[in-house]
């Protein structure tokens, strides 16, 4: 029985799904076919998942087809997804079936709020969509069409339209597709470029561009003798840790100086060879804590300006920083004695707060603004004599102590304790909350010590702590731990 070609388009509001649908309809009609499109817009247009549906059929002697206004599971020939998770959604909705559906999808990601708001890594597993797409589709065409669109100076719809042409799923020639774009008359040149890239992509999908790992040549000397001595020392550590040590050394020496790098190696060595790689990673992060000196240094380093120029893809005239120094941070720059003496005088603190703290907009492209941060960055030399440093090292020492205590008996647990450093991030209140979560997980770890599943539980607690801001998941996980620990005590 004659049936129409059915096409579902899944997009995110604002992606231009409607443009693509209009092109498909216009294409079919200019080729003498009949077409119907429907959409479910409304408020869904505002960044939400949106679905469009098109049916086209070859005209048959003046007869009028009865089109369906909605996609039916098991009945869709072509599914076009303008984003990777939307491809997953199409599969979930039953629109992609192995007997008939060609799935054309862009592999780029537009993260949903739920993925972005997790304090840890809440990003959905793209591989799961690949697996499902392979299982559910008859044919599967996927590549990063957003990147191609950017290259073409166009939007993802034009690349998708090209990919649709490339699959040959619609019996229309390339010229007809291109004429449709031209006739629509909006952003024609960019769209045609995007179209061509999409079309070529079907035959030869461009390679996947993932995050590029920073390539470091292990521990090879760099020609700076004091630093090379550190690298040579690091080379005596277990081989598995070499790459991480190279990275860690680069980080802490850049943060402070070569002597600090030496202290770093001492600390890594101190926790023992069984967890050297993990130690190399997290001790580097802990020692390079985020203080105002570091922020000022990062904001004034020579590489920054070219990077911003590149990222902004245009000539940058002014750069305004959004800073909010607080008294804690300023006092942290003083020596422990002076800092704590001022801390004990709340009225003085309040006065200084009014003078020096609060929201500041600093123009680092101007000489004066740059100088302010430049001077702060210049305090690096006396960092190890500051109150902040003293406090950080009290915590770091306690943490490494806890690691050292279990390193021999339970290396897995030691590694997990090291990884708890991941909980400490952010600034001000976020940082305080991180410290609190860190302390709670470490305390629980202390109680879990000696159990065969201690490492496993610490990992679970940490994952829970990274799920939400308030620590609700952590609370729940800690209650579970309490329950079984108390049971044991009772028994």
């Amino acid at each position: 029985m004659k049936r129409p070609i059915t096409i579902a388009v899944l997009a995110i509001g604002g992606q231009g799904g409607g443009v693509l649908v209009d092109w498909i309809v216009a294409l079919a009609e200019r080729e003498g076919w009949q077409a119907q499109s429907t959409s479910v817009p409304g408020v869904a247009q505002r960044t939400g998942a949106t679905i469009y549906y098109v049916e086209v059929i070859e005209t048959e002697g003046g007869r009028t087809p009865v089109f369906s206004a909605m996609a039916a599971p098991g009945d869709v020939d072509i599914v076009i997804a303008a984003e990777w998770m939307e491809a997953g959604r199409a599969i979930q909705r039953g629109l992609v079936t192995p007997d008939r559906t060609i799935l054309i999808a862009s592999t780029h990601r537009a993260f949903a709020v739920s993925e972005k708001e997790a304090p840890g890594d809440g990003v959905a597993d793209s591989g799961a969509v690949t697996d499902a797409a392979v299982a559910a589709s008859q044919r599967f065409v996927a590549f990063d069409m957003a990147a191609l669109a950017e290259r073409a100076g166009s939007v993802v719809s034009s690349v998708l339209f090209g990919a649709l042409c490339g699959t040959g799923a619609l019996p229309f020639p390339r010229a007809a597709f291109e004429a449709t774009i031209t006739e629509a008359g909006v952003g024609v040149q960019g769209s045609l470029r995007g179209f061509a890239l999409g079309l070529d992509g079907v035959a030869a999908p461009p390679p996947r561009v993932g995050p590029v790992a920073v390539v470091v040549d292990g521990l090879a000397p760099v020609g700076h003798p004091p630093y090379d001595a550190l690298l040579a020392r690091a080379a005596t550590f277990p081989a598995a840790a070499h790459d991480m040590l190279a990275e860690g050394l680069r980080h802490v020496v850049g943060y402070q100086d070569v002597a600090y790098g030496s202290a770093y190696l001492d600390a890594v060595e101190g926790v023992g060879p069984s967890v050297a790689e993990t130690a190399a990673k997290y001790i580097a992060r802990a020692m390079a804590y985020d203080d105002v000196i570091r922020v000022a240094a990062l904001k004034t380093q020579p590489a920054r300006s070219p990077r911003i120029q590149k990222e902004m893809a245009g000539q940058v005239l002014a750069v305004t920083e959004f800073m909010h120094p607080r008294m804690e941070e300023l006092l942290g720059l003083l020596s422990p004695g002076l800092g704590m003496a001022i801390e004990r005088r709340p009225r003085l603190v309040a006065l200084l707060d009014r003078v020096f703290c609060g929201p500041k907009r600093i123009r680092t492209d101007t000489i004066f603004g740059f100088l302010m941060l430049y001077v702060v960055a210049g305090l690096r030399g006396r960092r190890r004599k500051t109150l902040r440093h003293a406090r950080e090292f009290v915590r770091i020492e306690a943490w490494l102590n806890a690691v050292r205590m279990v390193a021999a008996e339970d290396p897995a647990l030691a590694a997990e304790l090291l990884a708890n450093q991941r909980l400490i991030k952010g600034y001000s209140e976020t940082h305080a909350r991180g410290l609190d979560k860190f302390a709670r997980v470490m305390a629980a770890a202390d109680r879990l010590r000696g159990r065969p599943d201690a490492a496993d539980w610490v990992r679970r607690l940490r994952d829970a702590a990274l799920k939400d801001e308030q620590g609700l998941a952590l609370d729940a996980a800690l209650r579970t731990v309490d329950t079984f620990l108390n049971e044991r005590t009772a028994a």
């Binding site: 077409a35 959409s39 960044t47 087809p65 799961a128 990673k281 985020d290």
Partner: protein, 714 residues
């Protein structure tokens, strides 16, 4: 200016007899109104008929040429009241709004209109917002038709059928002195199709004639004793006249089939879905041929008993396809068949779900259930559904992977900072009862803001917190959009709070447009337009009804000020309603307005500066606190690939419009120093170049000095 311009499409409204019109259902309805000599049109925007209002606004010139009056009504009640002209004068009028939200608001006027009856055709075009994509509570318009006795047209969802029903609708209205409702579902409103046009007809009796020769007839006014007579007239004269018209002109359609022992009675709007379900079962083809006889109700109220009896006679069983609940049609059919003493089984909601949208899959299940129940000896094509693949492990695994993606604030939306501030204030002062309203600002109820406990209807946010507004302790906070404010909120919410000395806080979110419905202008819009009066201040109106504590904020992006004002409103010793008017232009509209101008200026060689935000990747610690106070689509994540990092960092992508929210919120909430604003210049002037060179030289020298003293590994 509305979000979407139909300036190009409306040219089709000029098409003459015999031409082919191609376009959206909404535009086809507009064309049909003009072909049928409509004298005036009014309405209130709202999905799915927003575009109808936009089309009419863009077609103002064509309407003027024909002498057709068009108004953007203050609300649906105003729109419905507009039809009073057809009550007294032989002038056809049409109004439009979404249903059932709009019909609720309009029902006072609709009841009066239908009681009085009409002399000129009166048509209410209802955008039936039911099923997927709907933004309102799920109810049926059918009940309104029944309670007020307004005829309900539910045409098959294709352009020729819809257009024909506009023509018949006016005639039916005039033949029976009764207003009619033309019900168009979401997808039909946006369906793309074609039909053959006729010439436009100017109204034969003009509005000027009506003004010059006013008519008064007390029998048409709803007051005793006329109102009693009107009710009797509905039954004695208008109803039979309507049934007669429907039958004579064959508004309902019969489709024969070669399985005559059964049949399906369906709402016109369900036709395409039912046909596709039958096609999937091998009982119909794409060209509209069906093996199962169909009786299609293009008029679902009133029902035509003789037609029902004719269709059902000789059948063993009949299926009723009626979307939504209660099952008014099925109940009515039962009575008709019983009275006619026909031995036919009637199945409807027994094999189809009582509630929810009738998708093709649902309809197919229902028809198969019907065939199985009554035992029809016809071979059916096996189900072609997706059940098998949905059951496979890789597909099932998606359930925990694919994130929900509800609609949210657009990039740069001026409402986002209001709710960031709200969230920050709640961190200081604890949780409050927060009443939400209808509009884009309702997205606040979703993550990451999670602000708002109720929505009770348009303009009713503050009203919905009324009972909580006595006594002492925490104050309630209510949100109200500029759309809801002018719709009825000025009176229902603000006036009410003033009069009752309510000790409450109201935030009026003023984005200069009726933004959620597509950016239509309002009384307080800032643009000056030729045909409307704009620039009427909300703050002045609020003060005008007696509110004392009123604060106007003209840049919502100032999160710190927004927070301070909210804090002040919640803690001030002043009793009575506290009203904050938070105004900044809808970014979607602003971009649409400004982008082409800036592009043109840049092209012409003028100096153009445009802000964009960025994140210093090294400074960002990947805690995502900014996301939890923003949710901006352009504020995204990036895995850096650095060995020392586990979590992705924040990144601002190139869709950033430079609104500044991320920087402001990082500042106000003391989050982190990662954000910076870059002002990007095109066609820099000589001052820019010279200053840039000097600064670059000094900064470069300083950097070289430091590099010489602090060795860093590459």
């Amino acid at each position: 200016m509305a979000e979407r311009s139909f300036a190009r499409e409306v040219q089709q409204l000029r098409l003459g007899a015999g031409a082919e019109f191609r376009g959206e259902g909404i535009l086809a309805i507009t064309k049909a109104l003009l072909e049928n000599g409509v004298g005036y049109v009014a309405g209130y925007q709202g999905a799915p008929i927003s575009h109808l209002m936009d089309v009419l606004a863009d077609a103002s010139d064509i309407l003027s040429e024909l002498g057709v009056h068009f108004e953007s009504s203050a609300n649906e009640a105003t729109a419905a009241a507009t039809l009073a002209t057809s009550m007294m004068y032989p002038i056809r009028g049409a109004v439009t709004f979404k249903s059932t939200a709009g019909t609720n608001v309009a029902s006072d006027a609709l009841s009066n209109l239908s009681s009085s009856g009409v002399v000129g055709g009166a048509m209410i075009v209802l955008g039936e917002d039911y099923g997927e994509g709907s933004s309102i509570m799920q109810e049926r318009s059918h009940a309104f038709a029944m309670k007020s006795q307004i005829w309900l047209l539910d045409p098959r969802p294709n352009l020729p059928s819809i257009v024909a029903m506009v023509e018949h609708g006016f005639a039916l209205s005039e033949a029976s002195s009764t207003p009619v409702m033309l019900e168009v579902r979401i997808r039909a409103c946006h369906v793309h199709g074609s039909f053959v046009t006729k010439d436009n007809r100017p109204p034969p009796f003009t509005l000027t004639q009506a003004r010059e020769m006013p008519v008064r007839d007390t029998s048409r006014i709803v007051l005793p004793p006329a109102s009693y007579a009107q009710e009797k007239d509905k039954i004695a004269r208008r109803w039979p006249a309507a049934v007669d018209y429907i039958q004579r002109h064959g508004l309902n359609e019969f489709f024969d089939g070669d399985v005559p022992e059964v049949g399906i009675i369906l709402q016109g709007g369900m036709y395409n879905g039912v046909m596709r379900a039958l096609m999937r079962m091998g009982l119909a083809d794409i060209w509209g041929n069906t093996r199962v006889p169909l009786y299609v109700l293009n008029v679902t109220y009133p029902l035509v008993d003789p037609e029902i009896v004719r269709f059902c006679t000789g059948k063993r069983a009949v299926l009723v396809v009626e979307e939504g609940q209660p099952d008014f049609i099925e109940q009515s059919l039962s009575k008709t068949l019983r009275e006619a003493e026909l031995p036919v089984r009637l199945l409807g909601k027994r094999v189809l779900p009582m509630a929810g949208e009738y998708t093709v899959a649902v309809l197919e299940e229902g028809v198969r259930g019907f065939f199985a129940t009554v035992g029809v000896a016809v071979e059916l094509t096996p189900r072609a559904n997706a059940a098998a693949i949905l059951d496979e492990e890789p597909v099932r695994a998606l359930a925990s992977v694919v994130p929900a993606r509800p609609p949210g604030f657009c990039t740069g939306c001026p409402e986002r900072p209001i709710f960031s501030a709200m969230k920050l204030v709640e961190k200081e002062l604890g949780r409050h009862h927060i009443a939400a309203d209808i509009g884009c600002h309702l997205f606040s109820i979703l993550p990451p803001f999670n602000v708002g406990a109720t929505t009770m209807g348009y303009g009713l946010g503050p009203a919905s917190a009324s009972a909580l507004n006595g006594g002492t302790g925490k104050r309630t906070i209510a949100f109200l959009g500029d759309g809801g404010f002018w719709h009825n909120g000025l009176n229902s919410s603000i006036g009410n709070a003033v009069y009752n000395k309510s000790d409450s806080v109201t935030v009026i979110v003023d984005n200069h447009y009726s933004a959620a419905t597509g950016g239509q202008d309002l009384l307080s819009s800032r643009a000056s337009t030729r045909r409307r009066s704009t620039n009427n201040s909300i703050a002045r109106a609020v003060k005008g009804v007696g509110a004392g504590w009123v604060r106007q904020i003209d840049r919502t992006y100032d999160v710190a000020r927004m927070r301070a004002t909210l804090r002040d409103a919640l803690t001030t010793a002043v009793r009575g309603p506290k009203v904050i008017v938070a105004s900044s232009e809808c970014m979607l509209n602003r971009q649409r307005r400004e982008k082409p101008l800036l592009a043109a200026a840049a092209k012409a060689g003028k100096r153009v500066v445009r802000p964009r935000f960025g994140v210093d990747q090294d400074v960002c610690t990947g805690d995502h606190a900014c996301m939890r106070l923003s949710g901006c689509p352009s504020l995204s994540l990036k895995h850096t690939g650095e060995k020392l990092r586990d979590d992705p960092v924040a990144v601002v992508d190139n869709s950033c419009v430079g609104c500044g929210h991320c920087g402001e919120v990082a500042n106000a909430a003391v989050l982190c120093p990662s954000f910076y604003r870059a002002d990007i210049v095109e066609n820099p002037g000589w001052v820019d170049r010279v200053l840039g060179r000097i600064r670059g030289a000094v900064i470069g020298a300083l950097q070289r000095r430091r590099a010489a003293r602090h060795w860093m590994p590459a």
